[in-house]
């Protein structure tokens, strides 16, 4: 049975990924959006020159690269799956799949696999674009890339599970985008993605610290911003153990919520 689940899951990843790249709206609002925002921020603030603590100045583009990587992780996981599964619930796709011998575990493997295929491609292209087009210097220390790897994998897994849990919230497929996108927008504004983190007041930083996006963005800054920038963080530290703890807590909460709320069809009383 377990090999069957893996076969089914592999097949799901294939069709899920194909459908993702064939849907123009997800392609733009989930896959390309961080590229568009990186281009806009880089162009808009290009006149302000270099920013940062004395001795560690960088371009605005370099400041926004880790922020847009965090944004991509969030969009590929939370926004993508929350809207996608809510739509599948309302248009009968889940009901149809629920009438086949597809294992629910394989269904979710397909969703999470799709998030990883598309999220990895997105991150790789963002880093490549930052390096080649915007001339951003990339870290050379292996330990920085190790940090990138675990923040990326843990962040994307957590975001995918939050997306699955959040898909239970919209009442219909039509309202899914209207419910999910504003949540994402607000979080991106208060978590140091669109606005520079150290410009936010303490109380807003404390609110943002409840949610996972702040921690993903912080982890990404620790990789891509030069030494000296940690002075602008809370407690003047990258606090990577805090990043790990916050993401694991969110992973467990959303796993439990997903398990409790998922149904192939809306069960009647």
């Amino acid at each position: 049975m377990s090999t069957n689940v893996m076969t089914q899951g592999g097949s799901r990843i294939g069709v899920e990924t194909r459908m993702y790249f064939r849907a123009p709206d997800t392609l733009f609002f989930t896959f390309l959006f961080p590229f568009v925002m990186l281009a806009i921020f880089s162009a808009a603030f290009s006149a302000s020159g270099e920013v940062g603590p004395p001795g560690s100045e960088i371009t605005v583009a370099a400041l926004y690269l880790p922020a847009m990587l965090a944004s991509g992780i969030f969009l590929s996981g939370v926004q993508n799956l929350a809207i996608d599964i809510a739509l599948e619930k309302s248009n009968g796709t889940l009901k149809r799949l629920g009438g086949t011998p597809l294992s629910p575990v394989a269904y979710f493997l397909g969703k999470i696999g799709q998030v990883f295929v598309t999220g990895t491609l997105q991150a790789a292209l963002l880093i490549l674009a930052g390096w080649l087009v915007l001339g951003i210097a990339l870290p050379t220390e292996p330990e920085k890339w190790l940090t990138f790897a675990w923040v990326f994998v843990l962040g994307l897994t957590t975001c995918a599970l939050i997306g699955i849990a959040l898909s239970a919230l919209p009442r219909s497929g039509k309202s899914a985008a209207a419910v999910v996108i504003p949540i994402g927008l607000i979080l991106q504004f208060i978590s140091g993605v669109y606005l520079q983190w150290n410009m936010l007041p303490d109380w807003l930083q404390n609110i943002a610290s409840i949610f996972p996006l702040k921690w993903i963005a912080q982890g990404m800054r620790s990789v891509f911003l030069p030494d000296g920038w940690e002075a602008l963080e809370q407690n003047e530290s990258w606090n990577l153990p805090g990043v790990a703890i916050a993401l694991v807590v969110w992973l467990v909460i959303s796993l439990v919520l997903s398990r409790l709320t998922f149904r192939w069809i809306r069960r009647d009383a």
């Binding site: 089914q8 069709v15 194909r18 248009n91 009968g92 009438g99 011998p101 597809l102």
Partner: protein, 317 residues
């Protein structure tokens, strides 16, 4: 007349489903034999869909026993699901995949699927195999739904309004497909509003209204012999319409010709169709219910079943 368990693909006893104090299904007993095609007929809201969804494992039940291929569908696992095929009324959205991609994917979910190209040919979509489902016409998309229902080689196939949106030629092709599935031994539970379709495909039928089974029987027997008595209709010399129900329509026509001394005007001999029988059953049940509501406790009057439906058949002169 209790048949042994193993002989029946579906066995229902005392099935009830209550929503908010209202019984959508109110005590149904039904057996569907292995290899037969059974049509479940009834008006919208009669409890048809609820009953079928309980059999498919989608809905829980309030009371009663249900056994589908030897398993209680409330606890049907993946192995059980691989033995059934479901063609739902609304099939979901696979529009971004091509016909072959979506069938190939679904085939892979089953232990012993039919070859994908064979299924595509069976539903007549060879020319569209490489086309995205969203680009197909409504009727062609419906054929994809049917293809997805049969690709797993089900022992029991649920067909819910399968030919809605089909043109007459596509419907004929679909009927051929169902007959070939039947010839392979597939048990089929069909719900449809097209009574000619039920008459063409089904061995037996059940009529359901207000959550109860009004009648179950062979497709040529349901409703009773009385409901199937032919009707002879004609107009006399003054143009007044006449109508006689008779088991000997030939003799009646001959005697009319004799009496009139010539060809009768607007002569028709009508054999009630399944649709007439069905409408007779449903309408008399509605009248019973209305009479019950009007004078609670009084005995409801029985009304000849096929009569109003025959009037409805009258061609516009």
């Amino acid at each position: 007349m209790e048949t042994p368990r193993t002989d029946d693909a579906v066995r229902i006893r005392g099935l009830r489903k209550v929503y908010g104090g209202v019984a959508a299904v109110d005590g149904i007993d039904l057996d569907i034999h292995h290899g037969e095609t059974f049509a479940l007929l009834g008006p919208n809201g009669a409890g048809k869909s609820t009953t079928v969804e309980i059999l498919e494992g989608y809905r829980s039940r309030t009371a009663g026993e249900v056994d589908v291929l030897g398993v209680d569908p409330a606890h049907g696992g993946l192995a059980w699901k691989s033995r059934i095929g479901i063609v739902l009324q609304t099939g979901g959205d696979t529009g971004l995949l091509t016909v072959r991609e979506v069938l190939h994917h679904f085939a892979g979910l089953y232990p012993n699927p039919r070859p994908v190209d064979e299924v595509i040919a069976a539903v007549g979509l060879e020319a569209k195999a490489g086309t995205r489902v969203a680009k197909l016409s409504g009727g062609q998309q419906r054929r994809v739904d049917v293809a997805l229902g049969i690709v797993g080689r089900p022992e029991l196939l649920f067909l819910d309004e399968p030919t809605t949106g089909f043109d007459p030629e596509a419907r004929q092709q679909f009927w051929e497909l169902i007959r070939s599935l039947k010839a392979e031994g597939t048990t089929i539970l069909l719900t449809t509003h097209y009574l000619d379709e039920a008459a063409q495909l089904a061995d037996r039928a059940g009529v359901i209204a207000a959550g109860r089974l009004l009648d179950v029987g062979g497709i040529t027997e349901i409703g009773g012999a009385e409901a199937r008595v032919p009707v002879v209709r004609w107009s006399d010399a003054e143009g007044r319409p006449h109508e006689v129900r008779t088991h000997e329509p030939g003799r009646v026509v001959a005697s009319i010709v004799d009496a009139l001394g010539g060809e009768p005007r607007n002569l028709e001999v009508i054999r009630p169709t399944l649709e007439d029988v069905y409408l007779g059953l449903v309408r008399s049940a509605e009248r019973d219910a209305a009479a019950h509501a009007a004078a609670d406790g009084s005995t409801p009057t029985t009304i000849p079943a096929a009569q109003p439906a025959v009037d409805a058949e009258e061609p516009a002169a």
